[in-house]
Amino acid sequence: MNPITIGIFVAILLVSLGITVWAGRWTRTTADFYAAGKGLTAAQNGFALAGDWCSAAAFLGFTGLTALYGMDGALYAVGPLVAFCTVLLLIAEPLRNTGTYTIGDVIMYRMRQPPALAAAIVGTIVINLAYLVPQMAGGGVLIRLLFGLRYDVSVVLVGLGMTVYVAVGGMLATSWVQIIKAILMLGAGLILLLLSLKGVGFDPLVLFASAEAKAGPTFLLPGNLLKNPFDEVSLGLGYMLGLAGLPHVMTRFYTVPDATTARRSVIWVMFLAGAFFACTTIFGLAAVHYLGPEALRVGNPGGNLTLPLLAQYLGGGKGTAGGDLMLGFVSAVAVATILAVVAGLTLATSGAVANDLYVNLIKKGQVKESQQVLVARVTAIAIGIVAILLGILAEGVNVAVLVILAICIAASANFPVIALSLFWRRFNTGGVIGGMGLGLISSVGLALIGPAYLGPNAIWPLVNPTVVALPLGIFGAVIGSLIMGRDHEHEKRFDEVTFRTQTGLRSDYP
């Protein structure tokens, strides 16, 4: 146990709890709870988005993948930035112009039919849980490592932290926790970048040459991790369209006052998170250069400890004050990252359950404002408990499959439905159900019979089935719409959808 880690970690925890109590006082209405009163600035939301998008999987994972597998790690890191091009050009502004708190709002606004909303709710909950469980499990492993606690106790602590953030402070607290975490993370990244480059005279080419010399001639080639060529294509497709279907990232666009601010917040996150992701590639190569490939493989399955190990080395090495300080700092930021990301996921899930399922689908909107906030808080606590239980059950399970699954479902089920809702006149409830259904079933089904879950006994060759599931999702959406047939009354409403999508007129009338 490292006293510096504990000190920094406790400081982060106290500050974030203080923010939560402060935010709790300001959280009275549903707009406060789900969307921070729609009052964030572009920069604030941009930092919070960077916080959301740089999960521990990104922070620790991309560095580790680059250190162990070379170029495939760098391909993992560049995708999330390109993904924001899709969000920027097609999704962010229309979503802000047509929705209120959730992705379900957009579907409901367009379709006005309960089955369409029900399909959107199922999609959101499956994606969020698939994303939440690995984060919980990762948090449990990290806290066990840092504090020597048992795995289940660690998961309960992570779950308690996030539940308090969300249930008490809503989106305002969640956003500020994300902003602070993003600043810490970017600060840590900058320090590590300077230290990594300082050792090679600020010439990154030395890192490439050294990594290739130490890890072998194929290290800088693609295919070390993703052996099947179609998996590389799936990775690209999944990123390019999946991000635009992830509910916890999308709900961030409701926290700003208008589409112009939503757009500017995307520009912020593209530079903040993009620069950080580019750095993870440098860190991965630097880890090979400074620590050597053998040292990285010992006790480091999946490479997730690469960044803490590199930080310790750059700070002065094991047992030195500088090494302990850097290790403590990076570890504490990683734990804060997990807490902040699980809080964002919990909030987006409670939006789907409380706002979409309870208020809109079951009660048909006939719920008083104060009751809606209460329901949302209770839902957040319930989701916290479910997440803790699933997190404990996930011990020892290969959770990587779940992250791939979440992105694959987001790309194959959510993205076609959101995009077609906004841009296709003949899209209808049949299309929502067809797209969600086929996208969801093919993603989950193919992932479960693939190598990520079954290992060498896999029936299906690809780890990431997006390359097949996405076309199936689009096919389901189109066929579903055609089977249900044309409804001219419904299609007339598309004029309203188009006008609002493009102009934002009356954007806060659900």
């Binding site: 040459a209 690209g236 593209m270 493009q502």
Partner: protein
């Protein structure tokens, strides 16, 4: 569902949305957006999916050294970072200079016509 249609269209004159969509100002706005957004989509989809496909099927090509120890693959990855950032800046600029004023014209006209209160 939740009497939503009523809330959403309180104070909206019948036929106002259709009239809005068919107005020449709105057509100008959508055309302008389409002209700038479509080429950008073509650029980043080609750039990024091209890289992903080469990573799967053109592994030898990506291994060609272009700058000392750096191969074509890493150069293209760097290119994707620069492409994304450049598109973001260009889009922000076009939106602020061209699209936002056009949106204002459409919204002002829709409000001024008394169709939306």
């Amino acid at each position: 569902m939740r009497g939503v249609a009523d809330v959403s269209n309180v104070g909206v004159a019948p036929g106002a949305w259709v009239a809005g969509v068919q107005s020449p100002e709105f057509k100008t706005l959508v055309d302008s957006k389409r002209r700038s957004i479509l080429p950008m989509i073509v650029i980043y989809v080609t750039g990024y999916m091209g890289l992903s496909i080469l990573a799967g099927f053109g592994r030898g090509i990506l291994g060609i050294k272009v700058l000392g120890p750096v191969n074509l693959g890493f150069a293209l990855i760097a290119g994707n970072y620069i492409m994304s950032w450049a598109l973001a800046l260009v889009y922000a600029r076009i939106s602020a200079n061209n699209h936002d004023p056009l949106v204002k014209v459409v919204v002002d006209k829709a409000r001024g016509g008394g169709s939306f209160t």
